[in-house]
Amino acid sequence: MSQQVKEHSMVTVALPAPSPERTPNTAASTDDDTVFALRGVNVHYASFHAVRDIEMEIPRRQITALIGPSGCGKSTLLRCLNRMNDLIPTAKVSGSVVYNGENLYDSYVDAVEVRRRIGMVFQKPNPFPKSIYDNIAFGPKVNGIKGNMDDIVEQALRDAALWDEVKDKLKQNAYGLSGGQQQRMCIARAIAVQPDVILMDEPCSALDPIASARIEDLMTELKAQYTIVIVTHNMQQAARVSDRTAFFTVEVDEALSSRTGILVEFDTAQRIFTNPSDSRTEAYITGRFG
């Protein structure tokens, strides 16, 4: 029991510097391998405390899954990683999100530049009402990426395993694609700006199982080049694709009638899904709540 508690506190209260006490199965062992280090991250929407005191380190070129019941703040936290929360006027983020050594919330940091490096794929496929080609070319164009645009578009679509399906209809409207194709096109669009990280907010929730499986395969291929952080409601999906899994839950304070998202446990996917340290994680993954 004490061993479990110790492990739990170690993972969730990660230290900024490499620590000799780290367990061997903690993949993020050196700073070079860590893309994000979250220190005391809190998110408020006006008076609503959405996420509290998150401490975690997200490793490079791996898939990190954020799971948990509805309202646990996992999407909110994901949107802190590329400052997407800036777009919500009432949202306030405190603490620090250190990306490759730089705090994304420092005053000098340009959120637009952050989002170019840290791309995002959304819950519902959201193509621009433009041709497939223009959808992919939009990002490189606004970011002034040099090179032959045709090649950039082709490479992005190849990387997203969509090229063979769309190469003859690049000039057609992206709304003509199926839902799964649209979502892969959105992944291609994110890849086209050559990001470092791809955030995925429940990318398969609007897709059928076959389309979901293709996205999962794609994620596994992409992790050779990109760091992927995915929010998912689907525990099987998290178990299948993620290297590390973070389990969040909702803490309900009856007295204040408030609900706040907290990080319960963050470990390798294998540990989370076979031998979790925390009883709440176990209850969730075995389907007893959530």
Binding site: N82, M84, L87, P89, V112, E113, R115, R116, R117, G119, M120, V121, F122, K124, N126, P127, F128, P129, K130, F138, G139, V142, N143, N173, C186, R189, A190, A192, V193
Partner: protein, 315 residues
């Protein structure tokens, strides 16, 4: 045995399906709706036949002469050329003043401004301004553009030149500004947030998202609003009469372009207003002038619909 049972069951189903009583109220309502439609159509047909009849007689006797002649004290010689030119000049003012300012205001309110009490107050007031009677705008134009900026002189004091095309153009631009803002803001608001998110997600700035994604998506809606504004501006009589549009014969002589803008002017509604007060000899030319105004309005609407369809196909 079973056949009997089926029959009984069928009868029961038939009875339950058959209407218990006629829905009199519903039918009466339907008749009422149809009557309303007939009344509305009858009024339009009566008005149109009146106008088209007069216009036809003028066209038959004078041909294009009616379009190319200026105002005159004789009904046989009176034409609408000055009115057409005045109306089109006023539309140019509206297009170049009200549209950029109105669309920019809408973009600011929807895409940039924080949603606080102050911006809400502004939005509510802009909405209220669309309901202000046009004669009030005419008084505003008279006080500000004719008097304050025109030094109350007909012969070209101040930068507006008093009762001039510039004063009327500015007044109409102010008049349609709230319509342009409201319709543009609604078109911009109708653009799905997911499209904006997608733009920000690949590292586009707010300006790039607005210019390359939001405005093109909202363009058809904005165009519809601007057409409404043009139609409104072309049809308004009260403000331009207050500004001092000429309702009868006048000559602009050999003035240069700027002098003409600062000089005496008229527009189709003012021409129609003037002729409608003349003797019965003017009845047909009045109808013909109304017909010309209708045709120009329909042409403007048609152009906008065509532009809108073209925009939509580009996606």
């Amino acid at each position: 045995m079973s056949a009997t049972r089926t029959t009984i069951a069928t009868v029961a189903v038939e009875r339950s399906l058959a209407a218990r009583k006629r829905d009199w109220l519903g039918q009466a309502f339907q008749v009422l709706l149809l009557l309303s439609l007939i009344v509305a159509l009858a009024i339009i047909v009566f008005l149109l036949s009146n106008v088209v009849g007069g216009a036809w007689r003028v066209w038959h006797t004078r041909g294009t002469d009616f379009l190319s002649q200026g105002g005159s004290r004789q009904a046989e010689a009176a034409g609408v050329w000055q009115g057409i030119r005045g109306t089109l000049t006023l539309v140019v003012f509206v297009v170049f003043l009200a549209f950029p300012i109105g669309i920019a205001t809408a973009v600011y309110l929807e895409e940039y401004a924080h949603d606080n009490a102050f911006t809400k107050f502004i939005s509510v007031n802009i909405r209220n301004l669309t309901g202000v009677p046009s004669v009030v705008y005419g008084l505003l134009g008279l006080a500000v553009f004719v008097r304050a900026f025109g030094l109350d002189r007909n012969d070209g004091g101040g930068f507006t030149g008093g009762k001039s095309v510039i004063s009327a153009g500015l007044t109409l631009a102010v008049l349609v500004l709230p319509i342009v803002i409201i319709t543009s803001a609604e078109a911009i608001r109708a653009v799905p947030g997911a499209i904006r998110e997608a733009g920000y997600g690949v590292g586009a700035s707010r300006w790039e998202v607005t210019r390359m994604l939001v405005l093109p998506s909202a363009a058809p809606g904005i165009l519809t609003g601007t057409v409404l504004a043009i139609s409104r501006a072309m049809g308004e009589a009260a403000p331009i009469l207050l500004i001092g549009a000429n309702t009868g014969f006048f000559s602009s002589g050999n003035q240069d372009f700027v002098e003409q803008l600062r000089g005496t002017f008229t527009a189709l509604p003012a021409v129609i207003f003037g002729w409608a007060r003349e003797t019965s000899e003017f009845r047909d030319v009045t109808a013909a002038a109304i017909f010309v105004l209708l045709v120009i309005t329909v042409l403007a609407n048609g152009t906008a619909v065509w532009l809108r369809n073209r925009f939509e196909k580009q996606w």
